[in-house]
């Protein structure tokens, strides 16, 4: 098997995640889809790392995880406070930017 398949898998997962972000309204699920996209990227990084034979790809994936963790913490906090004020976790309800 060609390890390129990992990249195809990563691309597939990324696309699924992105589509999910677009069609789900529950902010939490949207968030999960974002995580899915990040994980897909990580997979690609790891595969590239193997391809190039050095560890920089893994380092990047590591950083991605850290940043994702920070992002999740803040993001979830935002969702919680949003829910408190609006009694809803729908991303469509936060549409004050509408003209």
């Amino acid at each position: 098997m060609n390890p390129v398949n990992y990249l195809y898998l990563a691309a597939l997962l990324f696309t699924i995640g992105a589509t999910g972000v677009l069609i789900r309204r529950n902010a939490i699920v949207v968030f999960m889809c974002v995580e899915l996209m990040l994980n897909a990227c990580n997979l690609a990084f790891v595969a590239f790392s193997r391809m190039h034979g050095n560890l920089d790809g893994q380092i990047i994936a590591f950083f991605t995880m850290v940043v994702a963790a920070a992002e999740v913490v803040v993001g979830l906090a935002i969702i919680v406070s949003l829910f408190r004020s609006r009694h809803s976790a729908s991303v469509d309800d936060a549409s004050l930017m509408k003209l």
Binding site: A18, V21, L22, I23, R25, V91, D92, A94, S95, L96, M97, K98, L99
Partner: protein, 633 residues
């Protein structure tokens, strides 16, 4: 001595500047100052004249270069003067008659609170007119040309509170501008053809038939257009009648004696150009002949004394233009008639002014009558002017007009016969309408009545300041022609400038004179039968079709009104509409459609984060696609 030429112009110019800028402080002495400066200019003119007489005939051209006016690569316009016999004649006429009319105006305008300004304008006119005749190139002439137009505008509209005066002034300026357009095109043509527009080289080149016949014809026709505007020749004659709205001294000076003859000056001055183009000369004589009859017919029908005289002026200038169009046979006679006409027509106008002065500014001749008893001096001077204009033997008009008629016959061929007959017919009509004016004004029963407020006019003789100029002019009207003609003095004087040739007349001079006498008697007799034998009705009878048309200036104004004024109004109105709706509309339409489009696009901004995410995602996809495509290519 030559350096005095600039002073000729400078003196009245100074007067104009001082009087117009001086303010009310000068109100009490303004008229005297103005008259003094006009007289000073006359004195300088006389001094120069004396100097000129002292020289040989070939040596009589004085020049004075003042400064370089517009120096541009390949284009040189100078302020420099040229005083030759032709200019000298004009200088003396302008300053002489001008000074007299200044004096006359002191009395005539005595009760006008804006008398100072009136004298300022008169001085401005003198300066411009002198510039016109003294210029040594066409561009400087153009300055004077428009300058007299401006002075005429200001003076016609002097009583600005009268809407009719303001309108007449505007009309005069506008019609003149059409003529000016011709002059400027002529100058441009000269420049592109000869690279210069100074009299000397241009006329010399024309004499040698350089530059091609068509171009010279073009220049000549454009000059003729200019002359038509200034000299009220058909088809640009319509302003002169209205110009009578101005004070009478103005009518006498500008619209009879001097300014309106500038066209004749222009044609005679540019004689070489016209000589080189027989086609243009033909047009000139046709214009002259048509105007001659046109003015005369209009003059027969007018009841307004000044307008009748205006028609007469038009007709007399028609004579001059006719003569000028005949070429070297006629130039001298055109100028001679111009000078004598300057005397008698100015005198007639001053007389008319004197009559109006005594009649509470009434201008309708049907309300005059029997004034000879009340205004003897005016009657006599006016009468002498009358005899002069109709060509009574021995008086000025007799000599000058007779020569023109002779010259017209001398043109030769069918042309000569037609022109000569027209000139003769004109003489008959002149005798008719002038006799009519004379009879209606001074003879018969008194016809004036109290006006609406019960003021009955008390006709009285005018003050000395008015009568003396009239007397001087009357003397000129009587003797000038004889003085000029006997021994061909005038001819010899002008010949170096204008050249002269004798045509081969098909009929003898005596026959012409006899014929002139006959038509004179016929014309005057007819008028006597019509107006002298019967009382003149106070209200004008309806009259024949021709009379009614003539009263309306042969429908020229109606034509102008319908075609030019109405048409122009419609044109401008529709253009304003076009500018607003079409030109601006395209712009506003673009703005509106951009606004509409953005209104649509705004809907994309629906506030849903997911919609934005879709566009981001789509954008990312496009970028990926573009990257791949670039790599593939």
């Amino acid at each position: 001595m030559e350096n005095l030429i600039a002073l000729l112009v400078a003196a009245p110019l100074l007067g104009a500047a001082v009087l117009l800028c001086g303010g009310r402080r000068l109100d009490r002495v303004g008229h005297l100052l103005g008259t003094l400066l006009a007289a000073a200019s006359f004195v300088i003119g006389v001094v120069l004249f004396a100097d000129m007489l002292g020289k040989n005939a070939d040596d009589r051209t004085f020049t004075q270069h003042l400064f370089s006016w517009i120096p541009v690569e390949g284009f040189q316009a100078d302020v420099s003067f040229q005083l030759d016999q032709l200019s000298m004649t004009f200088v003396l006429l302008i300053t002489g008659v001008g000074s007299l009319i200044h004096i006359y105006s002191i009395g005539y305008m005595e009760h006008d609170e804006r008398r100072r300004r009136f004298f300022g304008y008169l001085n401005l006119f003198l300066a411009a007119m002198l510039l016109l005749v003294l210029a040594d190139n066409y561009l400087l002439l153009y300055v004077g040309w428009e300058g007299v137009g401006l002075a005429s505008y200001l003076l016609i509209g002097f009583w600005q509170h009268k809407p009719s005066a303001a309108t007449a002034a505007k009309k005069a300026f506008l019609v003149n501008r059409v003529g000016d357009m011709g002059l400027s095109i002529a100058v441009m043509l000269m420049f592109t053809t000869f690279g210069t527009f100074a009299f000397g080289p241009v006329l010399k080149s024309a004499e040698e038939h350089l530059g091609g016949g068509a171009t010279l014809t073009g220049i000549a026709l454009m000059l003729l257009l200019a002359a038509c505007g200034k000299s009220a020749q058909v088809p640009l004659q319509s302003w002169l009648g209205d110009a009578m709205e101005g004070p009478t001294p103005v009518s006498a000076l500008i619209h009879a004696a001097t300014m309106v003859t500038a066209g004749v000056y222009l044609i005679v001055r540019s004689g070489a150009v016209f000589n080189a183009s027989p086609d243009a000369q033909l047009v000139v004589v046709v214009v002259g002949a048509v105007t001659l009859l046109f003015g005369a017919i209009v003059g027969c029908a007018k009841d307004d004394i000044k307008k009748a005289l205006a028609g007469s002026t038009m007709s007399q200038i028609g004579y001059m233009v006719l003569a000028a169009g005949l070429g070297p046979i006629g130039y001298v006679f055109a100028i001679m008639h111009l000078v004598t006409h300057g005397f008698f027509k100015a005198g007639l106008f001053l007389g008319a002014g004197s009559v109006m002065h005594g009649m509470n500014d009434e201008v309708d001749m049907r309300k005059y009558g029997a004034l000879r008893k009340y205004m003897p001096v005016t009657f006599v001077t006016f009468g002498l002017g009358y005899l002069a204009i109709i060509g009574f033997p021995g008086l000025s008009g007799f000599f000058s007009k007779d020569k023109i008629i002779e010259a017209a016959f001398a043109k030769g061929g069918t042309e000569g016969w037609i022109l000569g007959s027209v000139a003769l017919l004109g003489a008959a009509i002149t005798a008719y309408y002038m006799t009519r004016v004379m009879i209606m004004t001074f003879f018969g029963e008194k016809r004036w009545q109290p006006d609406g407020e019960g003021h009955e006019p008390h006709p009285h003789e005018s003050p000395k300041s008015m009568t003396i100029p009239m007397i001087v002019l009357a003397v000129g009207s009587v003797f000038a022609g004889g003085f000029f003609s006997i021994g061909d003095r005038f001819l010899h004087w002008l010949e170096p400038v204008t050249e002269h040739s004798h045509g081969n007349a098909p009929i003898s001079a005596t026959t012409v004179t006899a014929a002139t006498m006959v038509v004179l008697v016929v014309g005057a007799g007819l008028a006597y039968l019509q107006y002298g034998r019967r009382p003149v009705p106070v209200v004008a009878p309806r009259g024949s079709l021709l009379t009614r048309a003539a009263r309306r200036d042969l429908l020229q104004d109606d034509f102008n009104h319908v075609v030019l004024v109405r048409g122009g109004e419609h044109l401008t109105r529709s253009l304003v509409y076009v500018d607003h709706t079409l030109v601006d509309g395209v712009v506003n339409g673009t703005a509106a459609s951009v606004g509409g489009l953005s209104g649509r696009l705004r809907k994309l901004q629906n506030g849903y984060a997911r919609s934005y995410a879709v566009s981001m995602f789509g954008g990312a996809a496009l970028i990926v696609a573009a990257t791949l495509l670039m790599r593939a290519v």
